[in-house]
Amino acid sequence: MSGVRVLVGTRKGAFVLTADARRRDWTVEGPEFGGWQIYHLKGSPVDPDRIYASQSLGWFGQQIQRSDDGGRSWSPVGNEFSYQGVPGTHQWYDGTPHPWKFERVWHLEPSLDDPDTVYAGVEDAALFRSRDGGASWQELEGLRTHGSGPKWQPGAGGMCLHTVVLDPSRPERMFVAISAAGVFRTDDGGASWRAANSGLNSEGVLPDPEADVGHCVHRIAMHPSRPDTLFMQKHWDVMRSDDGGDSWVEVSGNLPSDFGFPIQVHAHEPETVYVVPIKSDSEHYPPEGKLRVYRSRSGGNEWEPLVKGLPQQHCYVNVLRDAMAVDQLDRCGVYFGTTGGDVYASSDDGDSWTAIARDLPSVLSVEVQTIP
């Protein structure tokens, strides 16, 4: 029988949650890498037993761990992330030039067709690639050396490249998102990049609210059957693009707040989208103390709250940008983790929710693998 494996990265280790396809009874294993920050774990789409994990700690730096047996055992692989050439400077919070310096890996994105190839989005913002299962990493420096690099500025969490979206129909095309620089697209496998932020408006945040770069994009998502359609949760505003990021339109519609972090697309319905509204950038908790996932079945603008099984009073947690995922089963499973350490799952497209793990360390990331 098929099943699911949920990979949970937290501030104090990694956890693996498993269930069969009914998704009723869950086994929780962990913590793995106890005490370390696990910003992200993700499995290879072509080899579910191959999983990569980003393990970091302020004291002792960055490690990349790899499992070849579905998370039962792990081995450290390469942890050297050296920028190509002279990195130069980006803007610091106060607008002064600040030298580029590697801090950590935020996101690992395994290739769609080769389990040994994996991309790493890092802070300070850059994209690295390994073609040897994580043993060595090479920067795709065309992104960082995009002419706008000196104008990039850190968001509150650091100047991170947090999202990597691979186009399944065009292997040379991918998208990345950087806080706070925006979205960039390559059409030549990462050699050259262009900003893809037309239509974004950061009124009150940027001196030029429609600048080419500088937008605090929190997450972008794509359904593999429609690679030209992208959904975005920006700092404020939920956006969509239907031309591969060439232009964006706002689809916040009737959301109670259009601030938030994660955004996901239903596995089988490319116009069904999920977000978790957060009250504001100065509060970082749900409106009215009610944890609500909002679902649009129309690709945005019209949203419905999904509350069954979620706390509807005194809830002041956040859901971070990499902490929501969908499985491939029918009906679609939706998963998210909170900064309060709870992991919620729905096995009915979001109609109802169950906590499948409680009181873990603060959740940084959630990914799910659908196991045949």
Binding site: F60, N79, Y83, G85
Partner: protein
Amino acid sequence: MSGARKREPDATGGSRPAAGRRAGDTAPAEAAATVRVVLPEHLRTLAGIGREIRLPVSPPVTLSAVLDAIEEAHPVLRGAIRDHDTLARRAFVRFFAVGLDLSHQPADTPLPAAVAAGSEPFVVVGAMAGG
């Protein structure tokens, strides 16, 4: 920054000191000392080792020679104690021995004789931080 790197890739894809004495080298004049090293828990777990390890270090037993020996014996610790490129001590790592804080000493500082003789350990510490 690759242009200023002090290390070069080895055949395994890792890195090693580009110059200077390494743990496995034979000292022509003096036999290697056995240095006792105590690592913090997170690094022990990472390297899969116990509280204390003993490493051969060819004289002179300096700060950098001991750190080189640690990384040579346990490559997973490269980047965890010192920066990969600059070999600068990570900000929240401290080096103690015989009741002294050696963290701010130059890399070529000879370690106390008791460390070189193996009677006292060289201690790597995760600095106190937070509440």
